[in-house]
Symmetry: C2
Subunit: 353 residues, 2 copies
């Protein structure tokens, strides 16, 4: 049986990157489809099998990902699939399960190739901090190696063809996960975020399209991939993200200078609950961890790194806790386990406040 817990020790989240105080992660992905075969949602089982076979051959012959695992989604139980989704290793689409679906995952867990997701091939790279060009370079390398043996569905007029029109073109989606408590606390977040749309960018929460902005996490990504080059897309993201980053820095400075009592109160109350609660749900925990992240910037909790906090946000998600506890333990037991994990992690991290 596949045991996702073994992945724990070498996640992308353990690494570090630029602007970690504000940017959690950067993710780039390409959507690709193989010529002459129906898009995955419309393909028959034997066609899906053919797609898997084509990708298998390419990955084996071109050493596309380097050292990697091949995970057959149909053999991964529901809870473990959810775990992989929470770890941001597979998409919500692949979490659903289904036959003839595969994910190749590099041993560092930062690069992956999903087969028979919405498109035949989704190749992605996720890195800690703000690393637009590094993640693009990484998927360019995957894409280039696969291109040697796989013939992509490509139109001179539209570019790479994809199941969903928004992915047709470059097939590139770049997402930057930002942590913006400063702008949120100073009620500037809505204005800032409204400036993003005219650039063709969109905003989601920590866990994708339908998640709220829990814990002041905002995932900014390009909405369409058509009509712009890969480089142009990255440049727009870079420009907008850098602007938001500067505004967030200013907002935090202003808050620390002008509302230090209220900010310190919010930070220390969050620390208090994290180190003492006996039951806590994931949404509340994310909100409290968000304040601890801000606390690091304020000069507290110096024994914590941003990487550790980012990892903790993933570790407190439901499937992560269920797997620690040995199975689906139900909501109350999970809330107790979550509180126990957080209490252990936060206990004694400061000698005096």
């Amino acid at each position: 049986m596949f045991n996702p817990m073994v992945l724990d020790s070498h996640k992308w989240v353990d690494t570090s990157g630029p602007y970690m105080d504000i940017v959690v992660s950067t993710r780039s992905r390409y959507a690709r489809n193989i010529v002459g075969l129906p898009f995955a949602p419309y393909a028959k089982p034997d066609e899906l099998a053919k797609i898997v076979e084509t990708v298998d051959k390419s990955i084996a012959s071109q050493d596309v990902l380097g050292a990697s695992d091949r995970i057959i989604i149909a053999k991964v139980p529901r809870l473990e699939r959810r775990y992989l989704k929470e770890s941001r290793i597979i998409s919500a689409e692949l979490e659903k399960g289904g036959e003839h679906r595969i994910v190749y995952l590099s041993h560092e867990c930062n690069r992956s190739v999903m087969v028979n997701e919405e498109d035949h091939i989704r190749m992605q790279c996720i890195m800690a901090g703000l690393q637009l060009r590094n993640t693009l370079t990484a998927i360019d390398e995957i894409d280039g190696r696969m291109d040697v043996s796989v013939e992509y569905a490509f139109s001179e007029k539209f570019g790479y063809l994809a199941t969903c029109p928004t992915n047709t073109g470059t097939g590139l989606r770049v997402s930057v996960m930002m942590h913006l408590p400063g702008l949120a606390l100073s009620q500037k977040i809505d204005k800032i975020l409204s400036l993003v749309q005219p650039y063709g960018l969109t905003i989601r929460g920590f866990y994708g399209e339908h998640s709220e902005y829990i814990g002041d996490f905002y995932q900014i990504s390009n909405e369409v991939t058509l009509g712009k080059s890969e480089e142009e897309i990255v440049e727009i993201l870079d420009k907008v993200v850098t602007q938001i980053l500067t505004r967030e820095q200013q907002a935090r400075e202003q808050l620390f200078a002008k509302k230090s009592n209220a900010i310190d109160d919010a930070i220390w109350r969050s620390y208090a609950v994290l180190s003492n609660a006996r039951m806590i749900d994931s949404s509340e925990a994310m909100k409290l961890l968000s304040r601890i992240r801000l606390g690091i910037d304020r000069g507290y909790f110096s024994s914590f790194t941003h990487s550790e906090l980012n990892k903790l946000i993933i570790e407190i998600q439901p499937a992560h806790l269920d797997l620690r506890e040995g199975g689906n333990v139900g909501s109350e037991a999970r809330d107790i386990a979550r509180a126990g994990l957080l209490r252990k992690r936060f206990h004694g991290i400061i000698s005096d406040n």
Copy 2:
């Protein structure tokens, strides 16, 4: 200038009494008026002065209170008056200030005689825990000594006459301050409290008639003093309070047995905020201290006594904090001072949780 802070070291609240885990305090008072003079609200200044003179003479000649202080309300600044009200030493009526108003306060601060409150004379005794007969005995003694030299307004038909009809009769009001978090948390409080009214009893919050039931504190007292003897009034209170006390004990036992996770969570979160917050208002602080009180019963915070917690509830009130800070410091600074006081008090009280 009168300095109420010197009273701090010998308050009634430092003492202990029966059922301290559920009963904060018992207070008994008599309303008395002097024959041949108008009720205080209708009396002219020279008549009010005459009342003060009569009481002064009686207290001096009969050693009514033993060692005591004579405090002239008109000479007590507004903030200090509020401090005395918060300490439950003077009434809301006397807090308003005004000429020819006096309070005699025993050195233990548990017995007092107020002059020209709503009635000419209000004599009261407050004790920690459930002490119905002890408080009654104490005011009986005051009443008996004063009766030697003061002729009370008394009617064979109605008993002692008072400004307000509800105080006419025995002039006795007995109030028991109960802490009922068990009944409140198990949603049984409304039902229990509705049983009180048919006995001619009424319920108020911690600070009297217009305060809400903040922190699950419920002050139960007789509504009228006419038609029943002093002994009957005390017996009714005793019967009803004992019933509520038993129900509260049962409710706590059930909660501890069946909802221990949720209860522990509530208790430890309260401890967490009290020992870490940087700003806190009095209403929130009372609610959190209420949970700590419950925590003592649950077996935590063994270094805390109920007396200390009862005292803390008084010390976090606005005027108490203002006087510590040297004057009216305003709402934000007061919330910061309150958080600082609580943090200091709760810091390190437990080595491990």
